[in-house]
């Protein structure tokens, strides 16, 4: 509801506002929904003036339709695919993270979510020379690990430092701070962060469930409301600024023992692509392997349930031939 206010649009002066209030019209919605002719009589203003006001207010607050053709043109020029640097994951993601979309990684503790996020951040900043915003809500990010990954990519210290400079980190631990940060990014923070080096092409939230999950459940719907806020601002940011959003989520176990991503059904509609990470169970020996499996569980481009295995050591080991060229998506691939 947008409240009617003096000076909101020309012609909406104090007198008119008062008589509108007397007629129980307080918001733009009320004004727009009411019958202008009847209202004009009630408030003793000219129909013409009232209609003009209605029209201007409507134009101010509505969303404008865009032709699909224009939208497509715009999309073609703005969409980029950011490789994660890991061939197995890129294969699942149809060659990488798409800008304008939300991609989700879910998995249990120690399933390698953060490692994948680190790897993607390093790859985007080093190979693609673009800035990355890393929102750390679990305190899991260590710059030394990022440096370790970078060292396997290049031995040039200057390049390493440059790449580190392009990764902007913010650490926050509750949902309001996350919302503050995301709205701040939409309201100019993204442009600011892109000063010096490439523009921001990816925003990573590790993890989104850590701040949302404590609010869910119980009788109140406020947690759900905040969750939709987070989803909304992430989607808007991804689309409007054409950045790729990568979020992580925990998993829950259903009654039958199946693993499924957390945050419930309402969240499940939010990410465009979802990947489930799991440890590869080796023989029941004590030795733990760094092998992980990634399963595509939601995608609009690839068949679901395809599975790839990869090694977490990929990023720290000798990862030579990863070509990190920025690919523009081709029409109707």
């Amino acid at each position: 509801m947008v409240i009617l206010r003096e000076g909101m649009c020309p012609g909406l002066d104090e007198d008119l506002l008062r008589s509108l209030r007397a007629a129980d019209i307080r918001t733009v919605e009320d004004l727009v929904s009411s019958d202008s002719e009847e209202l004009a009589q009630k408030c003793s203003v000219s129909y013409k003036a009232l209609f003009a006001i209605r029209r201007v207010l409507l134009a101010q607050h509505t969303a404008f339709p865009v032709s699909g053709a224009d939208l497509y043109e715009e999309l073609l020029s703005s969409t980029a695919i950011l490789s994660t640097g890991n061939p197995s994951l890129d294969k699942l993601l149809d060659s990488g993270l798409f800008t304008g979309e939300i991609t989700e990684l879910s998995g249990g503790p120690g399933s390698g979510k953060s490692q994948v996020c680190f790897g993607a951040a390093v790859h985007i900043s080093h190979h693609l020379k673009q800035s990355v915003i890393y929102i750390d809500t679990t305190g899991g990010l260590t710059a030394s690990r990022l440096l370790q990954m970078l060292r396997s990519e290049t031995t040039n210290t200057d390049e390493q430092m440059e790449a580190l400079q392009r990764i902007r980190i913010v650490r926050l631990f509750d949902v309001y701070a996350l919302l503050d940060c995301l709205y701040g990014l939409c309201g100019g923070g993204l442009q600011q962060a892109s000063v010096g080096g490439g523009s921001v092409k990816a925003v990573i939230v590790d993890s989104v469930s850590a701040v949302i999950a404590p609010l869910l459940g119980g009788k109140q719907s406020e947690g759900m409301s905040l969750m939709t806020q987070v989803a909304g601002v992430l989607k808007t940011m991804a689309k409007d600024f054409s950045v790729a959003a990568l979020v992580t989520n925990h998993v829950t176990r259903s009654g039958s023992g199946d693993v499924q991503p957390g945050l419930g059904v309402s969240w499940s509609h939010v990410p465009r692509t979802r990947i489930l990470l799991e440890r590869v169970e080796t023989a029941p020996s004590v030795s733990r392997s760094s092998l992980r499996s990634a399963t595509l569980i939601k995608s609009s481009r690839q068949p679901c349930c395809i599975k790839e295995e990869f090694d977490l050591r990929w990023w720290s080991g000798a990862a030579g031939g990863a070509s990190g060229k920025r690919k523009l998506d081709q029409a109707g691939s």
């Binding site: 409507l58 969303a63 939709t228 569980i297």
Partner: protein, 357 residues
């Protein structure tokens, strides 16, 4: 800016007609008003929309004649045959009817929507209906790339069958042009709150009145603002539902006045605890005014993969085909004397979109 000025002053004029004190049609205050508004925060997006509208506006005459009224009401194409395999026999959505597509994540809702959307915007030669569609995107869910890939596949298929040749040497230029034509039949509007949705629907009325080729309004999704409305509404249910019911009432009026058809998705918000088709999860949860509008309900679910088929599954391409989705349609159509019909159909998703089986 100038265009907006003309446009709005003209509108003021147009609606001036039925007012009795028409003796002094002073356009000046309106114009001044608009100049001021024009200098406001509207971007070129707004201008583009305004331009478009101006064009439309030109077609609307100052007063509506009987024939024009007739044109407004009758020229819209009926979408009864939009997808015969989905609806009960002879029970497709008629003028002024609402189809709700309901289901949890990953049950093919979006694919189904794209299927219907592409059927509408494709040229008749490619098996389409050639009608205009407004896509109200409340979830930021429209995946243009996917839609284009579906359209592309179908356009190509249409062309090859037409010429009877699999390798017809059609130039890339004409491909692009055909695609562009299809996409220009689609209008997309993003809404980010339920009050913006309401205002946008009001705004769309002008678009509807001027484009007689516009026959379908797609809303994806109707449930997008459910939780935020609940959070904002406080304890009272009627406050929580206020905005959505207002939108529904407005939609009801648009349906009556402009005889369009509406397809809307509704996300499931509860996880099914007892099997895939328990009544608890499928119960509608949106406000009553919306429920009253709905005449057809498509319930989407996932069919568990057939183990035999899974066994014979080969490469990646096959895997996509394997997953089968099921749609259960119940309709209580108003036009066909209030009879209830139902039908269950299955489809799978291929690169070219939905394929019924």
């Amino acid at each position: 800016m100038f265009q907006i000025v003309c446009l709005i002053s003209k509108t003021v004029w147009i609606h001036f007609v039925p007012i009795p004190d028409r003796t002094e049609p002073d356009k000046r205050p309106g114009t001044a008003l608009l100049r001021a508004a024009g200098t406001g925060s509207e971007s070129d997006r707004a201008r583009r929309a305004a331009e478009e509208e101006e064009e439309d506006e030109a077609r609307v005459e100052m007063s509506e004649s009987g024939t024009q009224l007739f044109a407004r009401l009758e020229a819209r194409r009926c979408l009864k045959d939009i997808e015969p395999r989905l609806f009960p026999d002879d029970g497709g959505p008629d003028h002024g009817e609402v189809v709700e597509v309901y289901g949890p994540e990953g049950t093919g809702k979006t694919e189904l929507l794209y299927h219907l959307l592409s059927r509408c915007v494709l040229p008749e030669a490619a098996g389409g209906l050639e009608v205009d569609v407004v896509f109200v995107d409340t979830d930021y869910s429209l995946d243009m790339l996917r839609l284009v890939s579906i359209l592309d596949t179908r356009l190509n298929k249409g062309r090859t069958t037409l010429k009877g040749l699999s390798t017809s040497p059609s130039s890339a230029g004409s491909d692009e042009a055909a695609l562009h034509l299809c996409l220009s039949r689609l209008l997309v509007v993003h809404c980010s709150s339920s009050s913006q949705l309401l205002l946008t629907l009001h705004f769309l009325e002008t678009t509807l009145s001027s484009r007689s080729s516009l026959a379908l309004l797609l809303i994806d999704s109707m449930s997008a603002f459910y939780w935020s409305d609940r959070g904002e509404g406080g304890a009272s249910i009627s406050k929580q539902e206020e905005k959505l019911s207002k939108s529904s009432e407005l939609l009801g009026r648009l349906l009556r006045d402009y005889r369009i058809t509406i397809f809307a998705t509704c996300h499931a918000i509860r996880r099914s605890n007892s099997g895939p088709s328990s009544s608890e999860t499928d119960r509608p949860f949106l406000c009553r005014p919306w429920q009253r509008l709905v005449t057809h309900r498509l319930l989407c679910s996932r069919q568990e993969a057939d183990p035999d088929q899974a066994g014979s599954d080969r490469g990646d391409g096959e895997q996509r085909r394997r997953r089968v989705f099921r749609v259960h349609c119940t309709s209580s159509s108003l036009s066909s004397t209030g009879t209830k019909g139902s039908r269950t159909s299955s489809f799978r998703v291929t690169d070219g979109g939905v394929e019924f089986i």
